[in-house]
Symmetry: C3
Subunit: 433 residues, 3 copies
C-alpha cells in the first residue's frame, strides 16, 4: 500500500454523514447489509479492502455460518389487513437470522414469537438467533399491549445460502512491522452508539494514519463481532503473537456522556498502560470497569490461549445504558461532539504510541550540560523548567522507564518526553533500549 491519500477531513461531521448514509441498511453477521455498509465506507476510505470468507470455513471451534438472505418480514392482522409490524419500517422488528415462515396464527400463538422490553415500553428490542433455528419479531411493549385477539398472517421472506462472511481491512505499513490494531464490528442493524460509532471512528483513524509515514504498522479491521474476530485470529495468531504491540476494540464511541475503560484480562499490558495514561493526559475522568463486565471482541483477543494485549476505551458502555440494544440507541443518542472527542482521544493515543521509546542515559554520571549550551542558568540559582526536565529525564532514564512511565514521573506529556528524548539523542546523551 502506498502511503498518502489519508484524510484528516474525516471530521465528526463527515463521520456523522457516513453513519446516516448506512443507517437503514440491514446489517447482520453476513449478507448484503454488511457488504453495502463496507462499500459505503470505501467511498470515504478507498484503501479499505473487502474480503469474503466462504460459508463453512473453520475458525477454531466455530465455522462461518450460511449467509442470511433477508427480503421482507411482516405481521398482518387478518381481520382488516392492517400491517402490524414491518421490518422495512424498522429492521429491528425481525429477529436477526430468522427462518422463513408463512403462517396464520392466533394472537396466543404469535405471542410466543414476540419479544418486547417491559422496562423500556416504547423501545423495540434487538435480538438475534444466529446459531439456533428460530424466528420471531421484536416489538415495543406499548404496541404489544394494543394487540387484539384474532388471527395474524406472519411472513418472513428469508433464505440461508452457501455464501460468505464479508469483512474489511486497512493495513497501513509503518517503518517497522510491529503493529497496532484497531478493530470494530459491522454486524448490528439500525443502532448508533453500539454499532455505527465504532466503524465511523475506525474510518476517521484510518484516514488520519494514511496521511503520513508512521513508525508502527497499523491494522484497522471491520468484522462481524465474535465470528469475524475468531476467523481473523485463527488465521493470524502466530503472526499477531510476534507483532502485536497493542490493540483496541472500537465500540460505543458516539455519545458524549461518560468514558469507560475496559481492561485486558490481566489489565497490565502496554495497551492498558497507554490507554490509561492518554485518558489522564487529556484530563478525562473515566470508569474503570472489570474484565468480568467485558462484552465485545476482547472476549476473543484476551481469551486464555490467545492472550493478546487488547483492551477498549468507550463512551457509554454496552450493557450499562438503558437504550443499549434497542431502537432508542438511534441517531439522536449519539452526537457529532461525542464522535469528535472519541476521535481526538484515539488520535492522541496513536501519537503516544508513535512517541513511545525507552531511553537510557549513555554516559556515566550527570553529563556536563554547560559545554553543550544546555545549562545556561547562573550556578546556585533555580533551573529553568526545560533545564529541570532535561535533568530529570537523564536521571530517570535507567532503561526501566519507558516514555509512559517517564511522563508520569516528570508529570508532563508523553509528547514532551519524546521531544526531550529526541533532543538528548541528538546530543548523544541517551540511546534507545
Amino acid at each position: 500500500m502506498i502511503i498518502g491519500g489519508g484524510r484528516d477531513d474525516l471530521t465528526s461531521d463527515k463521520l456523522f454523514e457516513f453513519i446516516e448514509s448506512v443507517w437503514g441498511l440491514f446489517r447482520s453477521l453476513t449478507g448484503e447489509g454488511v457488504r453495502h455498509t463496507l462499500l459505503k465506507a470505501k467511498e470515504y476510505l478507498p484503501q479499505l479492502e473487502l474480503f469474503e470468507v466462504p460459508t463453512g470455513t473453520k475458525c477454531w471451534d466455530w465455522e462461518i455460518p450460511k449467509e442470511w438472505v433477508f427480503r421482507s418480514a411482516q405481521v398482518i392482522r387478518v381481520s382488516d389487513g392492517a400491517v402490524v409490524l414491518d421490518a422495512s419500517v424498522n429492521n429491528l422488528h425481525v429477529i436477526n437470522y430468522s427462518q422463513p415462515v408463512n403462517l396464520i396464527l392466533t394472537l396466543d400463538e404469535l405471542q410466543n414469537h414476540l419479544i418486547s422490553h417491559p422496562s423500556i415500553p416504547d423501545a423495540i428490542p434487538y435480538r438475534t438467533s444466529y446459531y439456533n433455528t428460530s424466528w420471531g419479531f421484536c416489538i415495543s411493549e406499548n404496541q404489544r399491549k394494543t394487540l387484539q385477539p384474532g388471527l395474524y398472517s406472519v411472513t418472513i421472506d428469508s433464505e440461508f445460502i452457501d455464501g460468505a462472511m464479508t469483512f474489511g481491512q486497512v493495513y497501513i505499513p509503518g517503518r517497522v512491522t510491529s503493529e497496532i490494531l484497531f478493530t470494530t464490528y459491522i454486524c448490528h442493524p439500525m443502532m448508533a452508539n453500539n454499532e455505527l460509532s465504532g466503524p465511523a471512528i475506525a474510518l476517521g483513524l484510518a484516514g488520519h494514519l494514511l496521511k503520513s509515514q508512521n513508525y508502527y504498522s497499523y491494522r484497522i479491521l471491520f468484522v462481524p463481532e465474535t465470528i469475524g474476530s475468531l476467523y481473523f485470529l485463527s488465521k493470524n495468531l502466530q503472526y499477531l503473537k510476534s507483532k502485536l504491540v497493542a490493540g483496541y476494540v472500537l465500540t460505543c464511541l458516539g455519545d458524549d456522556q461518560s468514558w469507560n475503560y475496559m481492561p485486558s484480562r490481566t489489565g497490565i499490558t502496554l495497551s492498558d498502560k497507554v490507554a490509561k495514561r492518554t485518558l489522564e493526559e487529556l484530563g478525562i475522568e473515566y470508569i474503570e470497569n472489570s474484565f468480568s463486565d467485558r462484552g465485545s471482541d476482547e472476549r476473543q483477543y484476551c481469551s486464555p490461549n490467545v492472550n493478546l494485549p487488547v483492551c477498549s476505551v468507550m463512551r457509554s458502555k454496552y450493557g450499562s445504558y438503558k437504550e443499549y440494544h434497542t431502537s432508542k440507541d438511534d441517531l439522536t443518542y449519539i452526537s457529532r461532539e461525542g464522535l469528535h472527542k472519541s476521535l481526538k482521544y484515539f488520535k492522541h493515543l496513536i501519537s503516544n504510541f508513535e512517541n513511545y521509546k525507552i531511553p537510557i542515559a549513555s554516559l556515566f554520571g550527570e553529563p556536563m550540560l554547560s559545554k553543550r549550551n544546555l545549562r545556561n542558568s547562573v550556578g546556585g540559582g533555580d533551573l529553568t523548567v526545560d533545564e529541570k526536565h532535561i535533568s530529570d529525564l537523564l536521571a530517570y532514564a535507567d532503561g526501566t522507564n519507558d516514555t509512559v512511565e517517564l511522563a508520569r514521573i516528570l508529570n508532563i506529556s508523553i509528547e514532551k518526553i519524546e521531544s526531550l528524548t529526541n533532543f538528548l539523542l541528538s546530543h548523544n546523551l541517551v540511546r534507545l533500549v
Copy 2:
C-alpha cells in the same frame, strides 16, 4: 487401611459426650492419662492407631523425656488433718511433671511452691514443669488468702520411669499420596477449649473423612504438643516436604464466641489461602492474628528450616481469653453449638480442598457454546446466571487461577467453581493443569 466405617454420626453431641468421658483423666506429656484418653478416642474411632516412643528417643534438639507416673498429691493442714489441696479433686492442683515429695512445711515454706492467679481469684491456674526438676501446687487466689500460719504436710506420690510417649494417628489414603494434615494435642489435664475441643474435632473430621474415598490422603495426629510434633517432624520431614499440601493445628475449637485465624509464618501458603476463603464463604467474621502471637504446633511446622504450610483457625484463641490455662476453661466454657460450627467449618474446608483444581481453557478463543447446548439465550439479551458463570470461568481459566482464585473473581463458592469445572471438563472445554 480400608476406607469405610467412617461416621458422620460423630455430631457435636457425640463429641461433647467424648469430652465428658475423658474430662477427669490426668493427661500430661506422657503417661496413663494420655493412653486412656486415646483408648477412649479409639472407642469412637476404631481406625485410630496408637504408638509408643521410648524415653530417650532423639527428636532433633530434643529427646523424649522420662514417663511421669502420677498417683496422688495432697496438702494437709497438720493441726487438724484437714485436706487443703487434693489433685484427685482437680488435677490442675499439682504442677504437671512434679517431683515426688513428702515434707512437713511451714506456711512460708509452702508459699514458695504455690502458684495462684491474682487477676482471676477464683481460678486454679495450670502450670507445668516438664523440663525442670521441680514441684508445686496451683491454687486459687481466694483459697490461698485463707491459708493460716502453721505446719502443712505435703505429699506428691509420683515417679519418673523409662517408659514412652504415646501418640495416635489415623492415616486415610486418598487417590493421591499428596496429603492434608490435621494435628491436635492430648497433653493438657482438665481443660476444655484449650485441650479437649481439638481432639474432639479431630475425631469428628476423621469419622467424616473415612466415610468416602477422597482425592487427597489425610493424616490426623493426636500428639503431645511440641515434643510430639517434633518427634513426628524429625521422622518424616523429607516425606512431608514432598507430600504435604496443607496442614492445620486443631486447637481452641469448643466455644462459640469469636473466630481467629493464625497464619503460617509467611501467611501466603495454600493452607492460609484456603482457610481464609473458607471463612469468607461461610460469612464468618474473624480476627486475623499475627504469627508473632503464635502458640501451638505451628511453632514447629513453620520453624525456619521445617517451613511447612501449616496454619490454624480457632474460636477463642489461646492466650486471649481470661479463662485460658485455668480451671475456668471447663465444660461450661465450651458448647455443643461451638463444636458444631467448628466441625462444619473444617468439613467445608475439606470439601474446598477436595474441589481444588487449576483449570485451563483447552481451545483458542471462546468456544461455540450453542452447538453444545450451553448457550440457549436469544442473542442480544442478557445471559442467564449459569451462562455468565461458564463464560467467566472460561475467560479466566488461564492456568494462573486456581479454584480459590476463581471463586474470588466470580464471587461464588469453590464448590460451584468445581462443579462448573467438571461440567466444562466433560465437554472438553477445559483441562487441568
Copy 3:
C-alpha cells in the same frame, strides 16, 4: 592506617568551633579556600589525607577546571570613592569563578552584572559561574535600591591557572573491605547549613569511627560538589560496585528545625532501608522527599549507569528554606543543638550498620531452650520479655529477614536484635547468612 586516635570529644561544641574557624575562608571549586578549610579540618582530624587533582584531568564527561585564584573584588563609587561592595566583607558578594575585570561603568552597565534576591531583600544571594566565562557581583535587594546613577569602578583581581582540585579523604579499614561511604562537600563560601554543617558532621563521624575497630570499612570524603564526586566515581566505580554497602551525602545538618530524607533513585536500597529505620528508632518525624527534588551528590551516585546505593538524611533541606543559598544561611541559622542531634542520628545509623546481620536458625524445629537455661518460666504461664524475643527471633530467622526487618517485626531496636543474635550465635542456635 592504624586505628585509634579517634575522638569522641568532637562534640557539637567542638564542631561549631571548627565551623567558626573556617567561616571566613573563600571556598570555591578549587583554590586556597578549599585547601585551608581542609588543613584546618586536619587539625581536628590528623588522619585526614589531602589530594590534588591537576587541572585538565578527565572525569568521564567532565574535566577538572582551571584553579581559580581570587585576591579581591570591589565596587567603588567614582564620585566620592565610597566602597559599595567588597568581597573581603562578605565573600558572597563576588560571583564564584568570576573573570578578572578592571572597569569604569555607568550604573546601568553595572546593573547587568548585579544579582539580588527581591523576595529576601536583606540577603546577599550566592551565585557561581564555574563553567561560563563571566563575572558579576551579588548584592542585597535593599542595597541595590540605594545605588545612585553615576560611574562605578569595578575591580576583580582573579586569575585562572593550571593548578588542581583539592579534596580530602579518611579511609578507615574495618574487618571487611565492604565499605560504607559518607561524602560531604567543601566548595561553598560563607554559608553554614548548606555548607559547613556537612564537613563538621563528617569530622565528628570520622573521629568517632577511628576510636575503635569496626566491622565495615568506612570512607569519609570531603570533595567539591559534583566535579569532586565525578572524579572520585570515575576513578573508583568498579571498586565501589563491588564494595559499597551503603552511602550517604552529608549536607544541611546544622539547623534544628525539620528532618528530611532524600531517597536514592530507586528508594529501595539498603541505604534507604537503614536510614528510614534509624529515623523511626529515634522517634524522628521526617519529610519523605521525592528523588525528583534531589540536589546534591546523589545526582552522581544514583545516575543511571553509576547506580550506587546512596541517599541522604538532612535537617532543613537545600532549596526548601528561604535562607538557602544566601547570606542569611549564616552562623545564627545553625545551632550546637542541631549539630548534636545530626551527629547522634548518624552515630546511631553507623551502629545499626555495625549490627547488621542476617541470622538463620541452625536447627530444625524450635530448639530446646530449657536445657540451655534459656527458658526458665514455669510452663503454661507467660514468657518473660526476653524469652519472647528469643522465641520470635528464632521463629523469623529464616534467612530472608535481616536485622532491620527483624527489628521491624519484633518492634525492638536493631541493637537489641544484634545482641539477641550474638547471644543465639554463642549457643549455636543461629548462624549468619
